[in-house]
C-alpha cells in the first residue's frame, strides 16, 4: 500500500519531468532536468526493493552523467535549434507504440503479484540455493558474479569497447605540456582554484569518496554494492578533484596511461579467472575449483572478478572524463 502511494507520487513526477525535458529548447535546462529525472528514478528503484540498482543509478546519475553532459555541451552548443517541422509523423509513431504497449500491459500481472510468471521461473532457485552454493548474503552479487558471470563478462567488455571508442574519437590529441607553471594556473578558467570554499571542502571530501568507494567494493557481498557502483564512486572522486584543480592536475593525479591500464587490467583479470578455473579442471568462470572447498572458491572468485569489474569501470569513467576535459582546453 505504502509502496503504491510513493510510486504514484514519484512516477507522476517522472512523467512531468520528462515532458519538461521534451519541451525545453535550452539544452542546459534539459541536462539539469535529466539530473532530476535520474534522482527520481533512483528513489523509485529503492521503493521497488532494488537497493543495488538504486545505488548504481544514484552514483552514475549524480556523479558522472551530469558532468559528462555538461562537458559535451561546453564543446558543442547550448541551444536546441530544431526547426518546427511537421511533428505529426513522430507523434503518430510514438503514440501508436504507446497504445500497443498499454494494450499489452492490460493483461500483465499487477505490481507485486506473487503469482507472476517472473517469480515462478528461475528466481526462487537463485534465492534458495545462494546460501548453500555461494553463501554470500547479497543474492544480487551472487547472481551477478557467479550464476550469470558470463553476462557480466560481456557487459564489462561492452564498457571496455565503449571506452576504446571514446579514446579513439577524442583522445590522443598531441599532448600539450601537461606540467603547467603555478602562475599560469591562475590565468586558466578550467579549474576552480579561485573558489576557496569548494576547493577546501571538495579536496577534503575526495579521500572520503574514494574510501567509501572501496567500502562499497568490498562490502558488496554483504550489502548493496559491488564493482560497478564502486568504480563509479571512485571515478566520481577523481572527477571532483579534476574539476577543482583543473584537467592537467587531474591527469597528474591519475595519469592517462594508468587509467587505460586499469581498463585493460580489469577485463584481463576477469577473463583470467575464467581461464584459471578451466585450467584447474572446472568450466569457464566456475569458481568452485579455485579452492579445495567449493564455497570458499566461490568467495575467492567473486572477490577477484568484482575487483576486476571495479578496476574496469573506474578506468573507463576516468578515461572518458579526461578525454572530454582535454578536448575542452585545446
Amino acid at each position: 500500500m505504502i509502496t503504491i502511494v510513493f510510486s504514484l507520487f514519484l512516477l507522476t513526477m517522472l512523467v512531468i519531468v520528462a515532458v519538461g525535458i521534451l519541451r525545453t529548447d535550452n539544452l542546459f535546462t534539459a541536462v539539469m532536468l535529466s539530473g532530476i529525472f535520474s534522482l527520481i528514478m533512483a528513489a523509485n528503484f529503492f521503493i521497488l526493493d532494488a537497493a543495488d540498482v538504486a545505488l548504481t543509478e544514484a552514483v552514475i546519475g549524480a556523479g558522472i552523467s551530469t558532468v559528462l553532459f555538461l562537458g559535451a555541451l561546453a564543446l558543442t552548443a547550448e541551444y536546441d535549434r530544431s526547426p518546427p517541422v511537421g511533428t505529426w509523423v513522430p507523434l503518430l509513431t510514438s503514440s501508436a507504440l504507446g497504445g500497443v504497449i498499454i494494450f499489452a500491459t492490460l493483461q500483465a500481472p499487477r505490481l507485486g503479484d506473487p503469482n507472476a510468471v517472473v517469480h515462478k521461473h528461475v528466481a526462487p532457485w537463485y534465492l534458495d540455493r545462494t546460501p548453500e552454493l555461494i553463501d554470500v548474503p547479497n543474492v544480487v552479487t551472487a547472481v551477478l558474479a557467479s550464476f550469470r558471470g558470463y553476462d557480466t563478462l560481456g557487459e564489462v567488455f561492452v564498457v571496455f569497447i565503449a571506452c576504446i571508442g571514446v579514446m579513439s574519437l577524442l583522445g590522443r590529441v598531441r599532448p600539450r605540456r601537461d606540467s603547467i607553471e603555478e602562475d599560469e594556473f591562475d590565468k586558466r578558467t578550467d579549474n576552480l582554484r579561485h573558489h576557496l570554499i569548494p576547493r577546501v571542502v571538495g579536496k577534503m571530501l575526495v579521500p572520503f569518496i574514494v574510501l567509501f568507494g572501496l567500502y562499497v567494493q568490498f562490502h558488496g557481498d554483504f550489502g548493496p554494492g559491488g564493482g560497478f557502483q564502486a568504480g563509479a564512486l571512485i571515478a566520481a572522486g577523481v572527477i571532483l578533484y579534476s574539476l577543482l584543480e583543473g584537467g592537467p592536475r587531474g591527469r597528474e593525479l591519475v595519469p592517462e596511461w594508468f587509467s587505460s591500464l586499469l581498463v585493460a587490467l580489469g577485463a584481463f583479470t576477469y577473463t583470467c579467472v575464467g581461464v584459471v578455473s578451466m585450467a584447474m579442471g572446472g568450466r569457464f568462470l566456475d569458481y568452485s575449483v579455485l579452492s579445495h572447498d567449493p564455497v570458499h572458491g566461490q568467495h575467492m572468485g567473486i572477490l577477484i572478478i568484482e575487483a576486476g569489474v571495479g578496476m574496469t569501470v573506474t578506468g573507463v569513467m576516468i578515461t572518458i572524463f579526461h578525454a572530454f576535459s582535454r578536448r575542452g582546453i585545446r
Binding site: L22, V53, I60, T93, P114, P137, E155
Partner: protein
C-alpha cells in the same frame, strides 16, 4: 486497485512515447541523446517493476531473520549492469557528437544533411 497495480506499466509506456518522440522529432543530436536516456530509463523502470513482490524486501539475506520474502534478483542484475553500459554508450555518442560539431560546426541533423548534399 487493479488499475493502480498497473500504473508502473502505464508510466513505462508514456515514458517510452516521450523518449521516442524526443528522438524522432528533434533534430538536435544532444537533445535526441537525452531522449534516448529517457527511453532507457523507461526500460529500466519496466524491468525493476517486475521484481517487486508483495511484502518482499531487497534480496540481501539478513542474519537471524527467518521466512523473509525477497524481491526477484534477476532483473536487478540485468539493469544494474545496463545502467553502467548505458552511461558508457552515451559517452561514446557524446564523443561522436563532439567530433560532428568539430567537423560540421553544427549539431543539427538537418543542417548536416544539407551540407552533405552540397558536397
Amino acid at each position: 486497485m487493479a488499475v493502480l497495480g498497473l500504473y508502473n506499466y502505464f508510466i513505462f509506456a508514456v515514458l517510452l512515447m516521450i523518449g521516442l518522440y524526443c528522438i524522432l522529432a528533434r533534430t538536435n543530436i544532444i537533445k535526441s541523446l537525452i531522449g534516448l536516456t529517457i527511453f532507457q530509463g523507461a526500460v529500466f523502470l519496466l524491468y525493476i517493476s517486475t521484481d517487486k513482490i508483495d511484502g518482499g524486501t531487497a534480496p540481501i539475506i539478513q542474519e537471524g531473520v527467518e521466512n523473509q520474502i525477497f524481491a526477484n534478483p534477476l532483473p536487478q542484475v540485468l539493469i544494474l549492469t545496463a545502467i553502467v553500459v548505458g552511461i558508457s554508450t552515451t559517452a561514446l555518442a557524446l564523443a561522436v557528437t563532439v567530433r560532428i560539431k568539430e567537423a560540421y560546426g553544427t549539431i543539427e541533423e538537418d543542417k548536416i544533411q544539407e551540407m552533405d548534399r552540397e558536397l
